[in-house]
Amino acid sequence: MNGRFDEFASGSFKWLLFLLLASFPMLTVSAFPDAAAGAVSAITVTVTPDSVLVGDRIHCTIGVRHTANDVVSLEGIDSLTVQPFALINRKQSSAPLALPGIRQERFVFELAVFGSGWQPIPPFTVVLRNSEGKVITREACKPSSAVFVRALTDSTMRELRPIKPPLKPLIPLLLLLPVVLGVFGVAGLVLLLLFLLKRSVRTSAEKVDPCQVAQRKLRKLGSRLSAGMPPPECYEELSNIMRTFLEKHYRIRALEAVTQEIERDLKKLGVAGYESIMNLLAQADLVKFADSRPDAEESRQSLRKAEEVIRSARIPNISEE
């Protein structure tokens, strides 16, 4: 009995093995029914990144599994049909999978993105051809992937942003106001003081009578002459005093002018008694340039004459006032 059973068992195993081997191609086909029929088994679409600024670029990768004998191509993705995307670049690569007879076709599209908001990846068609180039199948695909496009400007804003509350100063303005007013007040006071000071200096300078100054200088010169000053030096000093007096009193250029020029200017101004002034200057010129040697008495006389000239020049001014 056992022997029969063993025979039967061994015979059944052989049959089972035979049936299994015989049914393998059928199992394979049933596992991949589309591939066996020359159809696309799987299409995958991935987009990276999924959120960009307008004008940025994305990479859209489309993967298609198919039987090794078939040729895969994509239709519907070109520069015209992908709007609002712009096709920048496309790459295609093919790689075998672990399963025998199955390959993965990989399409990578570089797209520039325009528009705003959610932008769906445009639909495309996967075409399978046999080795002879004959279309076996054509399968339309509408991917669910999309990319969010952010606009650069606020034109896409749909609601108003809340207005930020104004920043509050650390020190309240009302507290600063007296300080600011104080600073302005002090500055104004300083300016006023400067103005008054300048005016008073100018007025005092104007008040200095050139006649007075000249007379004072002449008196000093007289005392120096009495103290033994050499007469030529006295004349030189006298000439300087007279020229400075003429320049200040008559407002003529006397310090840089020669005697003739001074005479011409005084004549032009109609100065009464200019001859006396010219005599004094001529005498001084003789001492300075002609090596004349006056004595002390002559020098004193000249000083007296000079004082008279200055006194007479002062009188009209006083009467005018």
Binding site: E256, V258, T259, Q260, D285, F289, A290, D291, S292, R293
Partner: protein, 332 residues
């Protein structure tokens, strides 16, 4: 007031010795109407052995003044018209071969005269200009191997036309510097013009010029000019004026610093002093005053100061610069 005795005496001698100038001026006024300043400057140059560059448009009696001056001063006059094809030999003379005795003899050129009118000096090339200017400087001329001294007084009066520059050779600064004065000959006044017209528009011959100067008058005047007293203050004033043309900022005229490319040379100080002395002589004075210096400052300095680029852009002339200097440098 007691004057220095020597100066008093000298003053009297100067008055006496300068009479011939008045006589000569009287002769000149018979032919030349106006141009008193130009005539005075020529006398000044003659008195101190200087030379004068006259600048003025044609027709201002430059030649007439010089010719009459030479005639009145009893001096030998030569007029040399400078042309582009002129050679130095045409001016100074050359060696002439005598076939009889088979020897070369020097033939003196027109430069051998007392008063030379170098008419339009800038029409000749540099070699001719320099031949004349060398004669001016050295007061002698070498022909072949022989050197001949020039006659005294030797006065060169060169003219140049300021408005016509085409075909001219501009005198280099170094050459211009040798002229004691550059005198600008200006148009006559209205009345002078009227007198010139009436005097010249006639067929009658011009009144003859009588030589009024004795041969030793000029030498005596020159000797007296050398004795004229120059106070150290005036000496310093002269130097101040010249230095102010070089370093105006030192004299409170910093605005002129950019206006002057280069200032007056030391020759300016020398000629300013000499001309001031001659000016004082003409005023019968035995001493110089700053008035004398100021009077001749423009004529002595204008060709020695070169205005800079900025001055030219602002149309500032040397006379404007000199005016500024005279107004700012303090008179002693």
């Amino acid at each position: 007031m007691k004057h220095a005795v020597e100066l008093e005496e000298l003053g009297m001698r100067i008055t006496d010795a300068s009479r011939f100038i008045e006589k000569a001026e009287a002769q000149l006024s018979r032919r030349v109407i106006g141009q008193h300043v130009v005539i005075r400057r020529i006398f000044i140059a003659m008195l101190v052995n200087g030379h004068v560059l006259l600048e003025g448009v044609p027709g201002l009696a430059k030649t007439l003044i010089i010719r009459t001056f030479a005639a009145a001063m009893n001096l030998k006059f030569q007029r040399i018209q400078f042309t582009p094809d002129m050679l130095p030999a045409d001016l100074i003379g050359t060696m002439i071969y005598n076939p009889k005795d088979l020897e070369f003899y020097p033939r003196k050129g027109p430069v051998f005269a007392n008063v030379i009118l170098a008419d339009e000096i800038n029409r000749s090339p540099a070699k001719v200009q320099s031949a004349l200017l060398e004669a001016m400087q050295e007061r002698q001329v070498t022909i072949g191997t022989q050197t001949f001294p020039l006659q005294e007084p030797f006065l060169v009066l060169a003219t140049q036309n300021p408005i016509e520059h085409e075909g001219t050779y501009v005198l280099p600064e170094a050459q211009v510097d040798r002229f004691m004065m550059k005198v600008l000959v200006d148009y006559p006044t209205y009345d002078e013009e009227l007198e010139i017209m009436l005097q010249s528009a006639t067929n009658a011959t011009a009144a003859p010029i009588i030589p009024v100067v004795q041969p030793d008058d000029i030498a005596r005047a020159r000797a007296l000019i050398d004795l004229i007293y120059v106070d150290p203050r005036v000496q310093r004033y002269i130097v101040d004026l010249v230095v102010a043309s070089r370093k105006p900022a030192q004299y409170g005229i910093a605005s002129l610093e950019a206006m002057i490319e280069y200032g007056a040379s030391p020759r300016a100080s020398i000629f300013l002093l000499l001309a001031s002395k001659a000016h004082a002589f003409l005023q019968h004075r035995a001493y110089i005053t700053p008035e004398d210096v100021k009077a001749i400052a423009y004529d002595t300095l204008r060709h020695r100061i070169r205005p800079g680029y900025e001055a030219e852009a602002d149309n500032i002339k040397p006379d404007d610069i000199i005016r500024q200097i005279l107004q700012h440098v303090q008179v002693p």
